[in-house]
Symmetry: C2
Subunit: 344 residues, 2 copies
Amino acid sequence: MPMELDARKQKVLKAIIDDYIESAEPVGSRTLARKHDLGVSPATIRNEMADLEMLGYLEHLHTSSGRVPSSKGYRFYVNGLIPPKPVSDEEKKIINDWYKARVRRIDEVFQETARIISKVTKNVSLVLAPQMTQARFRVLQFLPLDDRRVITVLMTDAGFVENKIVEMPSGATFEDFQRMAMVINKNLAGRSLAAISPERLLPIRDEIGDEGLYESALEVVNRALDAGKQERLYLGGTTQMLTQPEFHDVEKVKHTLMMLEEEELIKDILHAHMGDGLEVTIGQENEDSQMKDSSIITATYHLNGELLGTIAVLGPTRMEYAKAMSLLEYMNDNLTEVIRKYNW
Amino acid sequence: MPMELDARKQKVLKAIIDDYIESAEPVGSRTLARKHDLGVSPATIRNEMADLEMLGYLEHLHTSSGRVPSSKGYRFYVNGLIPPKPVSDEEKKIINDWYKARVRRIDEVFQETARIISKVTKNVSLVLAPQMTQARFRVLQFLPLDDRRVITVLMTDAGFVENKIVEMPSGATFEDFQRMAMVINKNLAGRSLAAISPERLLPIRDEIGDEGLYESALEVVNRALDAGKQERLYLGGTTQMLTQPEFHDVEKVKHTLMMLEEEELIKDILHAHMGDGLEVTIGQENEDSQMKDSSIITATYHLNGELLGTIAVLGPTRMEYAKAMSLLEYMNDNLTEVIRKYNW
DNA sequence: TTTAGCACTCATTCACTGAGAGTGCTAACA
DNA sequence: TGTTAGCACTCTCAGTGAATGAGTGCTAAA
């Protein structure tokens, strides 16, 4: 379908979407003609609107209630009509100052990134923190908790620390665990977490000697690594989103909040949307039925070509795409830079 | 005022409050007579109600709209009329299983405690985690971040780990910091965080030699200790609270969520309410004007007579006091036990 | 002291109405 | 042939008024 929409149709579509994004009200021909200076009469706009609706770019709730963009309409808008809205220098400065003032612990970078995004876009933001496969093993330590359990602390060279409670196998003593720790540390220090495979652990087997104890070591190391590799999800803007008229209904708020509490579900959604760079998924385009009236914009950050994590904005289909997209792009670069610098 | 309320008045007041807590609707004489078997006619109840209102235990929104308990009414109810509602053995089992299944990292105890409380009471729960003054210094480590900053990692003997970013003073090198770490660790290992005072650090001064470097050491240790001592606030149930009819209005939800986001404010409120054991503050009794229509129940947990932290339920004045109070009591004992066991 | 009876007050619901914004269609116009 | 004015029609929304129902306060009788 070459040139499905002529220039004027595009202009009308853009005007409608811009207006709707701003007002959240269905837009009619008369008001559109009044506000945007399109140079044609309402009647003409009505005709164009009818065409656009026929083609699937607009929707009609009831006869005579103004038009609302469809997912297809938004898609066309995002792909071609969208006005660029780069992050201004002032905004950049504000963001950087914010980081400086707030990030006191290294992992707070992610939480603060989420906060910034939600503050600016007034929507929910999601940040999936990297798995630290780049990080290098520094030291594994055991601490006695009670007579049945120990705390395992794994530290990486970038200062990221992960601790986990582990049951001791029956028969093992804490002294055994300490001996294990020495052997493990000697063998693994300096290795990247990603490179620690079961084979790497084989030398440890010989040094430990005891077969049963070796099995425990294996399990403990793996569990500590799992914790270290685990993706962390940071969430922001659950309060900001209430300013959107879409959430005027408490039931909807509750539903959305409950969905956001399901961390695994959210992670799945993010994984499914992870693409190359900036990815926009609009309303109906979503697989998940709960997301049919939401849009999600994701941006992934990489290091040396390897995918590390994702930052995203989640909101109603009526969303300031231009703003959200350029912000995500900027935050993405920023985060990549931080991670590169801190050698995660 | 001896015996301000005779037995029947108390019975009526209790019936009204029970009913209102359940239904959230102003309660009238007819329905009250129907539901609760008080053995008197609505007219008599009306008379009693009028008396109770005169005395300040009940309130009237408009003529003819049923009565609602006042703060004073709730207070009397909580102090004397409240039916005991101990946590059942099944509930205890569910709670313990929950802990077992979810607590994988030691600090998750607090988050999960908050979750449980909010799940059961359907209100917001707050948990102020202890300052770890009981904890003993294990090791302080420095990790290079970039050429200007280092990450300081403080670990206690209970496996609690705290990391913080610190600027290096100009002139100092990372090697200096490593040397400092050795000296500090040698001198402080095994001491309780509370016992680490500036005087304790004096021996370090001589060992380090360099005056400027000693100043840095002092500052770094203090900042690491600060981080270690900092109270952490855990929050739960912001979604659950939406099931309360009090939050049918989105504006109110937004207002409450925004208040809850102000961590310092919440901490202040908790500190102000911290008492000896279980403390109930009802509506108007609150100092903070934002809390005039909320009630807060706090319970503090101690170790060896020293106050460690607080757990609390925050909700509308219409709250299931009996349930919340006994639950808090139970969770409080539980948490004290956990902390005692893990030697925090 | 308790209760029945009664007049009265609000809040809520429902149907109805008119205004306003919007559409689609047709016919006239450039 | 594309554009526009005009008009009939639709639908939503705010406002009005009546009916309903739950509740109160007061008075007089039991």
